[in-house]
């Protein structure tokens, strides 16, 4: 008997549909059945509509029967509940968007729609993508499929858990300070954050506009490359997208077998106190594997790395404080009834936002406020320049940088919720990539003794997605970590 349908990856599903060994309706139904079965334990999805998804799948099947040969026609994909899909709710994991139905498609959604993809479900997220554990969602925490007592990481924990648990072949996610790569590492799947300006943000509910980037979470680098190619490229509706053409990286990614001729940098700043010994050991083993594949490993310095988190936790909340000002109960979403406008604002936002969002909005408002702007916000912008400079100098010495994605494996649900600073420190290896605006890939690189996944971080220069993906693909060709899957969790939530 062949493998169950839900085991198909993104490209595998495309092949099976093209060969008509399976229909999109069958595949979609299998994923929805599985979602219904596993969701009580995982809570990785915020919404799905069986009839709507199946209608889309049947339409894809009919088109294929009529000769439509688009390569990804009918391939299901899950969408982070931050991206606007016309006619679907878009909650951003927040009560304040309760009742909002998106009247438009995000550009990445429009591109996937044009490719014929089926939007099978919406995945859970930390509220407005603010968090590293998917515990701040108004829809409750998502559980890690490898250990449901643990978090899947965040903010794209729903996407990572759903892909790891085989509820979808791939998912769209977003990454502001590590929100694709960290949950991918925690859940043993592949996550890719493209260069800032590579993928349109139009229709992606904004957290921190100068850092946000949409990207895929998938079960292989090849799949990530395929989804990336569908969504990348200049968008007239997102003025920050680059006009550089998107080259077809898929053939090179699929053909990647070794790392000969590549210099990969290892920053000494990434192997310091606070890094879990097991994670360190797994990362070093992965680096050795890359050396064995022919890469030259060189030492590089990223001297301002240690300032990344402080810099990030000034700039991101500052931008967020403005981005989230629009949630005021006037035009959409939740409104608290009140006698006058000011009270309506204050009550709507008091009741609509959760604690982490409030913390960050207050922090962001403070660092921009008169008298403190220069000491915090302006200084952080300057530190951002220093961090970008670090990477520019490092990339003069190497083609890409390797390191751990997270300092620890997935932690327990509730373990860090009362200590925001501890939670923020989990972003230590990922935030600098966002601050520098470059690309980063997380690929599974083994398991701790407790059976928890770890991720290898492949950081590429700006607009060298091809390089990061090829390195990841060669690594995956030589390893089996990305093929490991968790045992299906049983029953309801622990």
């Amino acid at each position: 008997m062949s493998a169950p349908l839900h085991e198909l990856g993104f490209l595998e599903a495309a092949d099976a549909l093209a060969q008509k060994t399976v229909s999109s309706a069958e595949l979609t139904a299998a994923l929805l059945d599985r979602s219904e079965k596993l969701e009580p334990a995982l809570n990785s999805l915020t919404w799905f509509d069986r009839e709507a998804a199946l209608a889309q799948a049947r339409a894809a099947d009919a088109a294929r029967a009529a000769g439509d040969a688009r390569p990804f026609l009918g391939v299901p994909i899950a969408i982070k509940d931050l991206l606007n899909v016309k006619g679907q709710p878009c909650t951003a994991g927040s009560n304040i968007l309760k009742g909002y139905v998106a009247p438009y498609d995000a550009t990445v959604i429009a591109r996937l729609r044009a490719a014929g993809c089926v939007f099978v479900s919406r995945t859970n997220t930390d509220e407005f993508a603010m968090g590293g554990s998917t515990e701040t969602s108004a829809y409750g925490p998502t559980r890690n499929p490898w250990d449901v007592a643990r978090v899947p990481g965040g903010s794209s924990g729903g996407s990572a858990a759903a892909v790891a648990a085989r509820l979808a072949p791939a998912a769209l996610a977003s990454d502001t300070g590590g929100s694709i790569r960290q949950p991918a590492a925690f859940c043993g799947v592949t996550g890719f954050k493209p260069t800032y300006g590579r993928v349109p943000r139009y229709g992606c509910t904004a957290f921190a506009s100068s850092l946000d980037q949409v990207g895929p979470i998938s079960r292989s680098v090849e799949d990530a490359a395929a989804v990336y190619q569908l969504i990348a490229g200049l968008d007239p509706r997102d003025s920050t997208t680059s006009p550089r053409p998107v080259e077809d990286v898929l053939p090179a990614v699929r053909a990647a077998r070794d790392l000969k001729g590549l210099k990969l940098g290892l920053p000494k700043e990434y192997f310091v106190e606070g890094l879990d010994p097991e994670i360190e050991q797994l990362t070093r083993a992965a680096v050795d594997q890359c050396r064995a594949l022919g890469a030259e490993i060189v030492d590089v310095e990223l001297p301002h790395s240690r300032y990344g988190i402080a810099c990030y936790y000034i700039l991101a909340p500052a931008e967020a404080s403005a981005n989230l000002a629009r949630y005021d109960g006037v035009r959409y979403g939740f409104r608290a009834e009140a006698g006058d406008l000011q009270e309506m604002y204050e009550q709507t936002r008091a009741r609509g936002f959760g604690a982490e969002v409030k913390r960050r909005v207050i922090l962001g408002t403070y660092v921009l406020s008169s008298g403190f702007h220069d000491a915090y916000y302006l200084r952080a912008q300057k530190v951002r320049t220093l961090i970008r400079g670090d990477f520019e100098r490092a990339f003069a010495r190497c083609d890409a940088i390797l390191g751990p994605v997270t300092p620890t494996p997935a932690f327990r649900v509730g373990e860090k919720t009362s200590d925001p600073v501890q939670m923020y420190l989990g972003d230590v290896f990922t935030v600098n990539v966002n601050l520098a605006g470059i690309c980063g890939l997380s690929v599974p690189c083994g398991f701790t003794a407790a059976g928890l996944p770890a991720g290898l971080h492949v950081v590429g220069p700006a607009f060298r997605e091809d390089l990061a993906l090829k390195i990841g693909a060669a690594y995956q060709h030589a390893t089996e970590w990305h093929r490991k899957r968790p045992v299906d969790p049983q029953g309801g939530r622990p």
């Binding site: 931050l82 991206l83 606007n84 878009c90 951003a92 968007l97 909002y100 998106a102 009247p103 438009y104 995000a106 943000r201 139009y202 229709g203 992606c204 509910t205 904004a206 921190a208 506009s209 100068s210 007239p236 509706r237 997102d238 003025s239 920050t240 500052a318 931008e319 404080s321 403005a322 000002a325 629009r326 005021d328 006037v330 035009r331 959409y332 406008l341 604002y345 408002t365 921009l368 406020s369 008169s370 702007h373 916000y377």
Partner: protein, 475 residues
């Protein structure tokens, strides 16, 4: 002389005449039916992003070029944060750190005195939505949200309400001229924040500033300033102290009142708009835009006086509207008699347009036809009353003046025989008046000329009629 000297500065917000909004492609200037020109961007929906309207930027840069600003070759947008339901994102995209145009000045003239008003900068921003306050609720129409605005900020160089109005008038004239804005005040195209202070005569340090927000008529601004300056001076004369504050003008009561606003209302928390890359301009683009600028009213006035020998008054009237000025020039090119062209345009043409509520673009009378009509008068082929009749026909349905004169039989009678006959008849019928003339009353002749004109049914050449009468009465 007064014991206090006023200083007035203006922040002038002008809606630009573009087809689309500043940061989205919704139609701009959609009046009437509410919420029909809206999209995810101007409604501030989750995930929507702004895109820059190039035409708005071009127009703002052109204003800078007209007033001699330095054009920023790299300018950036900032977010200005404040909560109000007319602002869909609860921040306004504006420019603070690096506006498009820096510096510049506008010449004004009040009571024959010329003065230069310095401009601090001009920046680009977006308008707010329209909010209607009802008794127990407010209603919002987002059609206007994100309409392109330029904000021009002057230095506090004006020292009287008259100077403020002269500045606004000069600015408005310029903007209309260059097609930057229709500057329709009723439609709220121009709105001002008016800053004023007073200081003791003979001192240099500016006094405490009060800002009157959101004024939208020139008359209101004049009245508000008169009131406000007097209020400030009275307060100081009475030994009181002024506090820096924001006030509003109550047009009915004719007073300014302090606005009740929260303490933190002014902490706008500006920071760079991450969703918009910088605007970078090169010198060639700026020069190309400069080349598109029309001749400005002041320059045109000077040229009309110089080249056409017109009085200052005529030049002022003719250049107030670029279309009228163009019509004048087209006519003058076909005519020798520039002053007559000016008289006709300022008189009959503007009157006729006004009566019909039309603009010069609607007029059927071609500049060539008006020039030909003037030539007929100058050649004494027709007299003035006849010319006015011909003008009206030309205005109503166009055509060629000579043909109309012929068709209507309006040519002057210059046949001395016929005129002699009319003169004799007039004298015979008005012996008493004739006697008065002979007795030395020169004015009596005009009455008799009138009688000749009447007898000739308006066609007699009045000069010839007077000559004939004089000959017969004195001969």
């Amino acid at each position: 002389m007064s014991d206090y000297v006023p200083s007035i500065g203006l922040e002038v917000h002008v809606q630009l005449k573009t087809r689309t909004k500043m940061f989205c492609a919704c139609p701009a200037h959609e009046e009437g039916t509410p919420n029909v020109a809206v999209c995810p961007v101007c409604l501030g929906l989750p995930g929507a992003l702004p895109t820059m309207n190039r035409e708005a930027i071009r127009k703002t840069v052109k204003v800078g070029l007209m007033i001699g600003s330095e054009i920023s070759l790299r300018s950036t947008f900032d977010r200005k944060n404040y909560f109000y339901p007319d602002m869909p994102k609860n921040f306004q995209i504006s420019q603070q750190a690096a506006p498009l145009c820096i510096g510049g000045s506008v010449e004004i003239e009040v009571g024959g005195q010329k003065k230069t008003i310095r401009v601090n900068h001009i920046h680009q921003e977006e308008d707010a939505a329209k909010i209607t306050h009802l008794e127990n609720s407010s209603e919002i129409d987002y059609n206007r949200a994100s309409t392109p605005l330029m904000e021009l900020v002057t230095e506090p160089d004006m020292s009287s309400p008259d100077e403020a109005i002269a500045f606004l008038t000069a600015l408005k004239e310029m903007l209309v001229y260059a097609g930057i804005s229709d500057c329709n005040l009723e439609l709220g195209h121009v709105r001002c924040d008016v800053n004023s202070s007073v200081r003791p005569a003979g001192t240099d340090k500016l006094g405490v500033k009060c800002e009157i927000k959101n004024m939208n008529t020139f008359k209101g601004i004049h009245r508000a300033l008169e009131y406000e300056l007097e209020r400030q001076m009275e307060t100081l004369r009475a030994g009181g102290k002024l506090t820096q504050e924001t006030r509003r003008w109550d047009d009915v009561a004719g007073v300014t009142l302090p606005m009740r606003s929260k303490e933190y209302a002014h902490d706008y928390r500006y920071f760079p708009e991450p969703d918009l890359p910088p605007v970078t301009l090169d010198a060639a683009t700026v020069e190309a835009w400069r080349a598109e600028l029309p001749e400005l009213p002041a320059a045109k006035r000077a040229r009309f006086i110089r080249d056409y020998g017109l009085p200052e008054y005529d030049a002022g009237v003719l250049t107030a509207d670029p279309a009228i000025a163009g019509y004048f020039e087209a006519t003058a090119q076909k005519s020798q008699n520039f002053k007559a062209v000016s008289n006709w345009v300022m008189g009959e043409l503007l009157r006729a347009l006004g009566e019909k509520g039309e603009t010069i673009a609607d007029a059927k009378i071609a500049p060539e036809a008006l020039a030909a009509l003037i030539a007929l008068v100058d050649a004494k082929t027709i007299n003035m009353p006849a010319a006015k009749e011909v003008f009206q026909i030309l205005f109503d349905r166009g055509g060629e003046p000579a043909a109309i004169v012929k068709e209507k039989g309006l040519a002057q009678v210059s046949d001395t025989g016929a005129i002699d006959g009319f003169a004799e008849q007039a004298i015979a019928a008005n012996e008493k008046v004739a006697a008065e003339f002979r007795g030395g009353k020169e004015a009596a002749l005009m009455f008799l000329v009138g009688q000749v004109m009447k007898l000739s049914r308006g066609k007699a050449n009045p000069q010839l009629a007077a000559d004939a009468l004089r000959r017969k009465l004195q001969g």
